[in-house]
Amino acid sequence: MTRKQSVLLFAGLCALCVLASVVYGVIIARKARPVPEVAASTSKPPAELAPETPQAMASTPKPPSSTVVHAKQAVVPAAIKSTPPVKPAAPLLYFRANQLGDQYGKLSVASADAPDQRKYAPDLYCDRVYFSHGIGICLTSNRGVFTTYSAVRFGEDLKRGWSIPLNGEPSRTRVSPSGRLASITVFVSGHSYTALNFSTKTMILDTAKGDILADLETLSVSRDGTAWQSADFNFWGVTFQQNENRFYATLWSKGKTYLVDCDLIHRTAQVIHEDVECPSLSPDNTRIAFKRRTGSPRALWRIYALDLKTMVETQLGEPRNVDDQVEWLDNSHILYALSQNEKGGSASSDIWELPATPDGTPSILLKGGFSPAVVRAKAEAQAAANLKIGTFSTFRN
């Protein structure tokens, strides 16, 4: 082969490679176009959504962004026409829109009984979302040449409030029942950025300004009544109690996980159970749903519920792998996200509902969602009341 032929051959190879990449890119971009059903639901005036979100409508301002105009056009006329709700309002779901498409990754809100009628945040993309009592926390990644991460506060209007930088990839977030406190867990790379060994960092924040009140690693841990210390402690997965000075979390040490009962004022964490990951406290504060590592590679994590009075555990009726901090829909049903491709590896996921019983059957509650946060009717009414006196209605940037 002469040199000229080699050069030509190489040029051909380059052209082929570039062509292949471009074609592949176009295919991916096509695939990422909105899925018809979801797109349709945003353009149709959702009369059913209106009664459930009076306060959301009331506080929705008029930003010029095209997407929010879209949502607003759909929503505001309905709000005017709608009659006050007769039946008890269904809970609201705040979540990450997680179906590849135009709205992919956006913060979204929908009613649990009309999950396809969604309102999208104009400019908030969240990896994790939580919402309680009028206060929302969105953990977001700011894609740049180098990705940075931040936590953003938002309100019922889905608009940005304060924002604080995070030290690693978002993992979990929760807001306390009154909305005053929030917890954030991030994955932090260990000693070197090339090694993929992660540890977790969990903080408790004051939602008013985003001040960090505590890093869980600074709590004094006790086990069986005696102090316990270890350099390898890792905390994650906070769930707040009704008395929000108290919360449960996962503590990890030497390959084992523990359930700890924490006290923010006294800065203590007490081990109360073993082998519990990502606890989630039921609304009536009687049960904790959690994930537990099983030996099986097919379902690495299974969901359990722990009765806090009797300390009796029940394995719930979801046979698949659930790697999520579950959320309670009400006192007898839980929610969690599962990838649309059962083996994992799909960028899209659905939110599933499961009765918190050993023989419950899971069903899809909301297609194309991730990281659900439930706002139940009672709390919602309270939030609306607060809104009237203006406690949470305005956010400073």
Partner: protein
């Protein structure tokens, strides 16, 4: 001062290191083979860096894997296995007189690993294996490729040739994250596209080396190259001096990861800035590589090599001295780039100059292996000192060590010409 006249004259006569292809491209006395290999590395490095820049977020945010599962990945990254494999690859390249084929195989591993990642993206276990495969490819190709670079260059411009290659290599580290960023800009959520593009770039690199790099002119068929003969290079005094110097300096060199971590702790910037440090270092390396290589060829490679290592002392001072502001700390990154520009390619040039053509891949592989083993000890030592004492203490110990090592290496290198 450090002229190697007699060695050079002696070896110019005994070698047939003919340069291949047209010369004096872009005002540099560098053969087309070196340019081709440089661009091969550029493509391959863009390919690797674009994937590694998106990997954490791809796994965590896109595939929603739990990173705590990645713990077991640790060991795959570094390892004696890779070091030994690259040693074997270098020696076999000489033994079979197939430097090019083995280098091609090394680049092939990397391209193949991207293909696997593309096909099994969803399976984190296999995705982890591909990272290891990429690493193996890098180990296998380095020494044979450097041998081709040196065999395709004139003795008096060896450092320039390596500088061109290393500069393009650093260019890959700069361009990789940028390419990934712009692809993701164009196609949101287009992680598979980034991996596809990465595979294509790796394939282009592979095509470039297989099609356009000419095999270096074969050394005269002398004695067969045996394992013993390759390893007996240790007895070759001018080379042994370089091996000892390389090992000694590696032992007191703080690894980049630890330097960046100290810098991050000192300045208080978020941990997520660490990749930016590596990016800036590569940028400075890219800018300074060729000038440093030319200066090294003109003024003496040993001088530039020693100066480059002396820069590490400045870096350690900037990081360990209390009371210096953040700006001074960030200047350490500039010096780190300059350190690489004046040592990495220059060391390869110095070694090539004292190695017989038929043993060049073996020699470079032995040097690389010794350097990586001592770097491993250095990291271990630094980690131990940081845990038992403090990071600052560790830096000061390494500073003192580097000062002593520099004196010793200077003495060794000057002794080399006296014999």
């Amino acid at each position: 001062m450090y002229q190697l006249d007699w060695i050079q004259r002696l070896q110019t006569r005994s070698t047939t290191s003919a340069a291949v292809g047209p010369r004096r491209k872009w005002g540099l006395d560098v053969s087309s083979n070196v340019w081709s290999l440089g661009f091969t590395s550029l493509f391959t490095d863009i390919s690797s860096e674009m994937v590694s820049s998106i990997l954490p977020i791809y796994f965590v945010s896109y595939l929603q894997f739990n990173p705590l599962r990645f713990g077991i990945l640790d060991g795959i990254y570094q390892g004696a296995a890779v070091a030994l494999l690259s040693l074997a690859a270098g020696i076999l390249a000489d033994r079979w007189r197939r430097q090019k084929e083995i280098a091609v195989a090394g680049y092939g591993f990397s391209a193949f690993s991207k293909l696997i990642l593309l096909l099994v993206g969803g399976n984190w276990m296999l995705a982890a294996v591909t990272l290891g495969l990429d690493r193996v490819g890098k180990g296998v190709r380095t020494a044979p490729r450097d041998a081709i670079i040196s065999l395709s260059s004139k003795r008096e411009s060896l450092a320039t040739a390596f500088a061109v290659h290393r500069g393009l290599d650093a260019g890959g580290a700069v361009l990789g994250p940028l390419v990934a960023f712009f692809l993701l800009r164009m196609v949101p959520g287009g992680f598979p596209l980034v991996i596809m593009a990465s595979f294509c770039l790796a394939l282009m690199g592979l095509g470039l080396i297989s099609l356009l790099v000419e095999k270096p002119v074969a050394a005269p068929a002398g004695r067969e190259i045996s394992w013993q003969r390759s390893l007996a290079l240790w007895n070759h005094r001018p080379f042994r001096v370089l091996l000892i110097s390389g090992g000694l300096l590696s032992l007191v060199t703080v690894s980049d990861g630890f330097l960046y971590l100290s810098l991050q702790k000192r300045t208080g910037v978020p941990v997520t800035t660490l990749p930016l440090f590596a990016f800036l270092t590569a940028g400075i390396y890219l800018l300074l590589s060729v000038p440093m290589g030319r200066i090294a060829d003109r003024w003496g490679r040993e001088k530039i090599f020693l100066t480059g290592n002396a820069l590490l002392i400045i870096i350690y001072l900037l990081l360990a001295m209390p009371g210096l502001g953040n700006r001074a700390a960030f200047a350490a990154i500039g010096f780190l780039g300059a350190y690489y520009a004046s040592t990495d390619g220059v060391m390869a040039a110095m070694s090539s100059a004292v190695l017989k053509p038929e043993l060049r891949a073996s020699g470079l592989a032995i040097l690389n292996t010794i350097v990586s083993i001592f770097r491993f000890f250095s990291s271990f030592l630094f980690g131990l000192l940081s845990v038992t004492g403090s990071a600052n203490l560790a830096i000061i110990v390494f500073l003192a060590g580097m000062a002593m090592a520099l004196v010793a290496v200077r003495w060794l290198l000057s002794g080399r010409e006296r014999t």
